[in-house]
């Protein structure tokens, strides 16, 4: 670990990274998925979720997050990023991907990262890399 990284990490309050396999949310409805995610995030944890939420679930997650700001102490919202699901592919690859998605029940190629804004300052996403910037 470089001196620079250590200097920054030394100032962060406790947090954990929790991995959620898609199988854990597959059978849940939208309300329960969002509730599960927010419960973990409110515990100052960063979630790494296998797969991704539907667009309408993501917007509901944002809406529910907004409703909690000001009502939950020190909660300022979330940082959210999805990687790996929208690579430019040809028609055949896209068809194959859709077929696999139907069989597995979700977009397994994607990874969703969600963290509390009090811990995660920014998730910088470029097509080929992702940077997690943490708050001091």
């Amino acid at each position: 670990m470089t001196k620079e990284v250590r200097k920054h990490l030394g100032n962060i309050k406790g947090f954990a990274i929790q991995f959620i396999p898609y199988s854990e949310i597959k059978s849940l409805n939208a309300d329960d998925r969002i509730r599960k995610i927010l419960n973990i995030v409110l515990g100052n944890n960063i979630i790494i979720l296998q797969g991704k939420l539907k667009a309408e679930e993501e917007s509901r997650l944002i809406g529910d997050t907004m409703a909690m700001i000001g009502h939950v102490k020190d909660f300022k919202g979330i940082e959210l990023a999805v990687i790996g699901s929208d690579e430019k592919t040809n028609v055949f690859d896209r068809f194959r991907k859709s077929f696999v998605n139907v069989l597995s029940g979700g977009d397994m190629a994607a990874i969703t990262i969600i963290g509390p804004a009090s811990v995660v300052k920014e998730i910088k996403r470029n097509p080929k890399k992702i940077e997690l910037l943490l708050n001091k």
Partner: protein
């Protein structure tokens, strides 16, 4: 009896005939401070002489959904009437302390944050009611932001036509191509709402997309 039958047919046919005359609900969505209100103001001012809302350097200046009815846009001899809907900027976090940098007192900052969160909820609710949406992005910022993707994903799921505007193209740091590369499946127009630069391309795209409105 025959009279009643004709009346019934007319009642069914007339709304269908004039369906296209209905004002198109044109929504302005995007992250805070991208220039949604500036663009909506520019259009409203050009065609009605009035603005839709106030603009500010402080984020979340628009905290309620704002409307301007019957905005008739004329472009190259064509005319269309829109209901313009300017929405609060959508983000995943709101921290009142961010407003303190703008010399705002703590209570005002807290009030602004509270109103901003309510505005975001309102913006999301309004997604269902749009006919056509302009996503306004700041061309100087990184477009790979999940909120942008979430908004577009919601519109696609609802089959609502989308136009992406890369605003602030007058600034040196602006990178319209980066936005085009980030969203290759959607029309992207680079413009400057502040200076009214490249609005012709914007109106052209709006008129084209209006034909896709269901």
């Amino acid at each position: 009896m025959a009279k009643k039958g004709i009346k019934g047919i007319l009642r069914r046919l007339l709304p269908a005939l004039f369906k296209n005359k209905k004002d198109i609900k044109l929504g302005f969505y995007g992250p805070p401070n991208a220039g949604k209100t500036s663009l909506a103001n520019r259009i409203c001012k050009d065609f009605t002489g009035e603005e839709i809302g106030t603009v500010s350097k402080v984020p979340h200046e628009t905290r309620n959904v704002q409307f301007k009815e019957k905005v008739e846009i004329s472009y190259k001899g064509k005319k269309m009437t829109f209901k313009m809907i300017d929405t609060p900027g959508i983000t995943t976090k709101v921290d009142y302390e961010d407003f303190l940098k703008y010399k705002m007192n703590k209570q005002d900052a807290k009030n602004r944050a509270k109103e901003a969160t309510q505005g975001i909820i309102e913006s999301i609710k309004w997604l269902d009611d749009m006919d056509l949406v302009v996503i306004v992005l700041d061309a100087t910022e990184n477009p790979y932001n999940q909120v942008n993707i979430t908004i577009i994903g919601n519109l696609v799921a609802r089959k609502i036509p989308v136009l992406i505007v890369a605003n602030k193209s007058d600034l040196n740091k602006a990178d319209v191509k980066k936005i085009q590369d980030a969203f290759p499946e959607y029309p992207v127009i680079g413009l400057s709402a502040k200076y009214g630069k490249n609005l012709d391309d914007f109106y052209d795209a709006i008129f084209k997309l209006s034909k896709k409105v269901k």
